[in-house]
């Protein structure tokens, strides 16, 4: 949930990058971090193992435009994708305002994508939320690799809920699709918070 500091006129939103292990969640944040001007970003905190797998989470605070006199800040988090870190994922999801689901487009990773999306929904349910309620987008990453599934099948696999959400093709390590994804999910959050009709953009 958004955190509002009336004294400083700042509103913080929490966006979590979710997905299976090695799907490219950290790569998204790293690209955002190195591409934003210094005035718009804080330090990126990563807690990773020796092989660069996220063990706890990555955290990157970034600031954005002012709306209604309030500076908007987005706290970007990733979760560890490996199955056995579920408790950590659950903790990171607490108070989330929006989710970017980063899917690995490779055929051999598809079951893990499905599992991860189910896991996301289950963990949201623990906070009395669900994918039907929270703003989220899907990013199909690694589109530059061979042996990737076609988009229509990925959509069938991961985006066939009653409410289909925006999706993006991406090559996160090259920055392709990274800002499209981030900007869309951020605008969905802003529209939900400030837009006409409250949660209308969800």
């Amino acid at each position: 949930m958004s955190i509002i500091n009336h004294a400083e006129k700042v509103i913080n939103f929490k966006v979590v990058y979710y997905g299976p292990g090695v799907a490219g969640k950290t790569a998204n944040l790293q690209y955002v971090h190195k591409s934003l001007p210094h005035t718009n970003k804080g330090n990126m905190v990563s807690l990773a193992t020796g092989d660069d797998r996220t063990i706890f989470f990555d955290f990157l605070p970034v600031s954005a435009l002012a709306v209604r006199g309030f500076e908007t800040r987005f706290q970007l988090y990733t979760v560890p994708g490996q199955v056995h870190y579920d408790m950590t994922r659950r903790l990171v999801l607490r108070g989330v305002d929006a989710v970017v689901f980063v899917a690995d487009s490779q055929y051999e990773r598809l079951p893990e994508n499905v599992e991860s999306l189910k896991n996301l929904d289950e963990n949201l349910q623990r906070y009395q939320s669900s994918l039907d309620e929270i703003p989220y987008v899907i990013q199909y990453n690694k589109r530059d690799l061979p042996n990737i599934a076609p988009i229509d099948y990925l959509e069938y696999l991961l985006n066939r809920r009653a409410r289909r959400v925006p999706f993006f093709e991406a090559v996160a390590v090259e920055g392709k699709g990274v800002f499209d994804t981030l900007n869309t999910v951020s605008r969905m959050v802003l529209a939900g918070e400030f837009g006409d009709g409250g949660k209308g953009a969800r």
């Binding site: 009336h6 209604r68 349910q125 009395q128 939320s129 069938y156 951020s186």
Partner: protein
């Protein structure tokens, strides 16, 4: 059939189980070089991103004289007795529309009000060729960003209520109540709605006691929702809920064509309950206003039933009322273990949330809110439940005779197959359930019942069958799912696509469900598994 290159799966086979080397084995298959897999077996698996086939399904395609061990031995040496198929080969052989989706993309039109918040400062040095989409975003941002950032902000009048005192630097308030966050949601002058601040202030001036709704002056059966002001207060988890309904000051009311043309009705000494009944549509309309634009609540009489209907624009209002009337008896049915507080019914053509505003048999109205297929319903359900005044049902049993005696013996018990028993044991969100299978003698409809212990399966199977038949005659289209809330208890009926013209229903629950998301996942899984049989 889907043809799979043998060489792609050969590595999974235990080589010592065959007399021929694997490369020669492939050439001696029923179709040399390929395994043939029935497509129908793959459908449900493709939804999980995998494709596997049990050894027993393809064993016959191998030359028997080349196999040195039994099929059971080979299966035992494969993971879960199955071969994993190369998904790319499977997908490639399916028709182009196999994965076409009909559900709508979520409406994100509101986001155009906000420019993209982020732009890369410069192409990062490591980038030899900058990503085109990002660059395009950056160009558009240069123009748009400052428009909003520097737009004249509306005068932030401090509301006439206490504002959260200044707090220390970091994370401060978690979604403060409306009063504290008023400045955030205050609309720019161009927005058509009155600023929340003003509405808040108006409310504060009102007497503390909530006024009794006045008798409705409107004789028309259409009442425009904008007649009342609604205050929405966010709960802790951030989902806005209508907290209470108040009458706004007369000068702040939006135009209400019919109501304003009518003179103020004389204060008649009508019985209190009748006044409340007349005020009901307006009260409901006010509650639902936050979720539906241009909302109209129609009050219609169908026989002895009063239906307050709200329909999204895609749906015909008459059809919604008719569907509600057809389904209403099922909410007031003697076969149910407890009085129904709400039902959500999804059909192929639309979904409807039915909420009795009291005991239907005692002339309480039925609120029917209908939306197009795929529209989110959770919030709508919560708001509709709010429309039920506290204690309206109060756990009372109706005197209705609906469903009484409709429990003949045309549904016969059949043996519970092992896979159904296993499925029953896998349910967690519904608590312990008892699996039962009944079959309709005339139509061959199968009812898979997974009910809380102590509930009789046969009456509820009859109930589910009646529901299915009612939906077939409804404008909502054939039944997809039905969720009945009985206080904390839930009963779910799902249509199972059994294929080949066979019909089946899954009926689950009857007791409390505290993990709704898990329940939904378990039901999806159960429907898939039952349908795959």
């Amino acid at each position: 059939m889907v043809r799979i290159s043998f060489e792609r799966i050969a590595g999974q086979l235990p080589a010592d189980a065959f007399r021929l080397p694997l490369d020669r084995l492939g050439a001696n298959l029923l179709e040399p070089g390929h395994l043939l897999v029935p497509r129908r077996l793959l459908g449900p698996q493709l939804a999980e991103g995998r494709a596997r086939v049990q050894w027993s399904v393809v064993a016959e395609q191998f030359p028997r004289q080349a196999v040195t061990v039994s099929d059971a031995d080979i299966a035992a040496r494969l993971p879960e007795g199955a071969l994993t198929l190369p998904l790319d080969e499977v997908i490639r052989q399916l028709p182009g529309d196999a994965f076409a989706l009909s559900s709508p993309i979520v409406d994100v039109r509101g986001i155009e009000d906000f420019p993209p918040p982020f732009q890369p400062h410069v192409p990062p040095p490591s980038e030899e060729r900058p990503a085109a989409p990002v660059a395009e975003v950056a160009r558009s941002l240069t123009i748009e960003r400052f428009d909003v950032t520097r737009a004249p902000e509306p005068e932030l009048e401090e509301p006439a209520v206490s504002v959260e005192p200044a707090v220390e630097r970091e994370p401060v308030l978690e979604r403060a109540p409306v009063i504290e966050r008023t400045p955030l949601v205050e609309r720019a002058p161009s927005f058509e709605h009155a600023p929340v601040v003003e509405r808040e202030a108006a409310l504060e001036r009102e007497p503390a006691a909530e006024p009794e709704p006045e008798p409705e002056p409107v004789m028309s059966d259409t009442i425009v929702a904008a007649e009342r002001e609604v205050v929405v207060e966010n709960d802790v988890e951030g989902e806005p809920e209508p907290e209470r309904v108040r009458f706004a000051a007369a000068t702040e009311r939006e135009a209400v064509p019919v109501a304003e043309q009518e003179p103020e009705p004389p204060r008649v000494s009508a019985p209190f309950i009748e006044r409340r009944r007349r005020a009901e549509p307006s009260r409901v309309a006010a509650l639902l206003k936050p979720i539906l634009n241009a909302l109209e609540v129609q009050e219609r009489r169908v026989g002895r039933l009063t239906v307050l209907s709200v329909a999204s624009p895609e749906l015909a209002a008459d059809a919604v009322v008719e569907s509600a009337a057809m389904l209403a008896p099922l909410l007031d049915d003697r076969r149910l273990p407890a009085p129904a507080s709400q039902a959500t019914v999804r059909g192929a053509q639309g979904a409807i949330v039915l909420t009795p505003l009291g005991v239907l048999a005692e002339s309480a109205p039925l609120l029917a809110v209908a939306v197009a297929p795929g529209a989110p319903l959770a919030y709508l359900e919560r708001v509709a439940l709010r429309a039920v005044e506290a204690g309206a049902l109060n756990g009372r049993r109706s005197s209705s005779m609906n469903g009484y005696g409709d429990g003949g013996d045309d549904l016969r018990d059949t043996t519970v197959p092992s896979h159904v028993r296993t499925l029953g044991e896998s349910f967690r969100a519904f608590g312990k359930v008892v699996p039962t299978v009944l079959q309709d003698r005339s139509s061959s409809l199968i009812c898979y019942m997974f009910l809380a212990p102590g509930l009789a399966a046969r009456p509820l199977a009859h109930y589910a069958r009646a529901l299915r038949e009612a939906m077939r005659g409804s404008a909502l289209g054939p039944l997809e799912s039905f969720i009945l809330r009985m206080g904390e208890d839930r009963l779910v009926v799902r249509e199972v696509d059994a294929g080949r013209g066979a019909a089946a229903l899954l009926v689950a629950g009857g007791g409390p469900v505290d993990r709704l998301g898990l329940a939904r996942l378990e039901l999806e899984r159960a429907v898939t598994r039952l349908g795959a049989r």
